[in-house]
Symmetry: C2
């Protein structure tokens, strides 16, 4: 993560400062571990410099809780009580659904995803937050529950200075094309291959 | 991150509980973003369930500060004051060195890396922490500053229940072989390719 000069300076008419101050659209995709974890790590960094952070989890189950949620609630409380870091909001979108559910198998879930995205659109338009995590957001895109073109247009035309990080497998090509920063978390080896179960504090 | 049953149960004589309770050795490698960020995200999760977390940064520069350090110091303070989460220690190992420095170009840095590793070995033997992040630790291995066989033996024979996460490009094959969980963060697209400079709160 070099702080130095870029190798090439594009002929885009922007000053270095303007280029530096471009808000980031990042995508963490791939079959490996670390997509959400790295997004929450980025959110931690954003919190640290006082950005207003909002997490929208397109969750696998309405009961699903990750350790990060509790930790970020603590961080949000620190902000409220002592003014350190930034404000934090954590939302689970819609009714929740299983990530193994097939596309279109449940209209209820489709509607919940659409409602969740509509809320995010409103917040982007209102510049409500500085740093958004749309966790597991590729799945409603992949399953056709949301219109990819609408999502990409909304993200590319978002006003002001709002960072957005999107996680999930199989990010649509249009989203990859639109993003500034794309990392594919490639699975090399996973404990579950050796018959281990997930562990609290490690997997969630 | 499924909480369900593994697809295959190995014939290793362990109960599911014993297998679940195996401490994890994880490696985040590759040229893409998110290696350290995901490790700190895991540490956040570990903190949340009350594990004693220690970060050892084999830093690029003695002056180097990442946002996570400040955030984890806040979390450590929360633990000390209110008993929430786990204890946190954050160490920068040795004198710091540039990640662009070539192997063996500076005996001072080699000695600092050796001292740092010796301290980690002592702590692993003493079961001092529950969750270790060895950040950018692949570089002193890659440059031959530390003995890979010694590192791998020490990690594989560590006593008790200590999780270890190692980050950095070009993880040595012996380390990948020894690890339970290996993710290659593969670069698809990076803002610096478009001539942007790193941004506070995003890159560090």
């Amino acid at each position: 993560m070099p702080q130095g000069n870029p190798l090439e300076v594009p002929d885009d008419g922007l000053t270095t400062r303007a280029r530096r101050n471009t808000p980031v659209l990042a995508v963490h995709t791939g079959a490996g571990k670390g997509k959400s974890t790295a997004a929450f790590g980025m959110a931690l960094r954003a919190w640290n410099i006082g950005l207003n952070v909002a997490v929208f989890q397109f969750v696998k189950s309405a009961k699903w809780k990750v350790g990060e949620e509790a930790a970020f609630r603590q961080l949000g409380q620190l902000h409220a009580e002592r003014g350190v870091g930034g404000a934090v909001e954590w939302h689970k979108m819609g009714a929740g659904w299983s990530w193994s559910r097939k596309a279109g198998s449940d209209n209820h879930h489709v509607a919940a995803a659409a409602d969740g995205w509509a809320e995010i659109k409103r917040r982007l338009a209102a510049q409500r937050h500085d740093f958004y995590v749309l966790d597991e957001f590729t799945y409603p895109l992949k399953w056709g529950w949301l219109d990819v073109a609408d999502v990409v247009d909304t993200l590319l035309s978002r006003p002001g200075y709002q960072h957005v990080v999107i996680t999930g497998r199989d990010a649509p090509p249009e989203l990859v094309e639109a993003a500034d920063l794309v990392t594919d978390m490639t699975k090399v080896k996973h404990p579950m291959d050796a018959g281990r179960k997930g562990q609290k504090g490690i997997e969630w």
